[in-house]
Assembly symmetry: C2
Homo-oligomer: 218 residues x 2
Amino acid sequence: MQSDKPMLQLALDTLDLDTALEFTRLVAEVVDIIEVGTILCLAEGLSAVKTIKTLYPDRLVLADVRIAEAGGLISKMVFEAGANWVSVLSSATLSTMEVVAKEAFSHGGEVQIELQEDWTMENAMKWQALGIKQVIIHRSRDTEKAGMSWGSKDLDIVKDLSDKGFKVSVTGKLSIDDIAVFKGIPVYAFVAGRAIRDAGNPTQAAKDFQNAIKATWS
Amino acid sequence: MQSDKPMLQLALDTLDLDTALEFTRLVAEVVDIIEVGTILCLAEGLSAVKTIKTLYPDRLVLADVRIAEAGGLISKMVFEAGANWVSVLSSATLSTMEVVAKEAFSHGGEVQIELQEDWTMENAMKWQALGIKQVIIHRSRDTEKAGMSWGSKDLDIVKDLSDKGFKVSVTGKLSIDDIAVFKGIPVYAFVAGRAIRDAGNPTQAAKDFQNAIKATWS
């Protein structure tokens, strides 16, 4: 599944499972990772994760439950539902990270830390010492609000985390035009939600993302 | 609902709704607030909140979804499911707090900020400026792990937040014996989960909590 080329992750943040399935039906075979978003998990419960994994056993499935506490129990539920990856907030305590990592690894799964505003590299290295390899970074709200693409500050952070050994995914209203901005920067996965779901032809939109990734990383 | 005497909140962190209902059936009329915990929300989806509120319309219902992001949409879902209160993590951005507060107030609801390790009083005053009145504080893990009751440091924080105008709830493996420790300190609600659910007689355990509160605040 892993390669030098970034993967494409479909974010499913619909309000119910059936609406999500309308899109997975069209794009599941084109994307690499299917993210069952926080909103969908809350709307439907973790049975949504189970249904998605049952339908698409060959896709990586991220349960984006954003663990803050009770990490052992939540991650157990998530991996038993069939998820490959689980998300944890960077503001969770190190002991929460530790129990989540232990649970994830016992299922052959991975942990993805969602970098919130106040994350520090010092903490990131502690997560890495626990065996956690993935982080996900959101485009800074300021550039997003200003309608700008990813800024050099964002890109430097991605590069820095990658240099330190992390697999870094990026998210935040990504469009196909944003992909080329990351040329030369190691990105683990690009997350796209509305850019695929709101497209007139979601299958083609997902293919266009993959083609833009291939073109930039060729 | 509000009085000088602290309220009693039942935390429901069961893995499914039916197990939760086994307990609410026994104690809903004794407690003041029913918390639909993060784990139950994830296990069953927000229909769990709807079922609890439908069964117990006169109880306050907290949807403990611990919002980190996407606050507008999640809080809309939560209040439409019938919750009175919604929880938000202290690490959420101020703009997330703002959209949650707006959504909550439009439903006559309230926002409860869960204080994580790195919260600051400076931020707390910004939440208050948004109209957010409730915070919940967890007993420090160190004292919990050491098997000790609430420490004077914890109590000072409760008092300080209360002095600054917050309604402060407290949680963290509370037992009936802990209640008296808070004598003279303004507590908005005591949260009890396992101490009630694991009791041989949950109804009596909830009554014992209420009696301990009455005795301490008489």
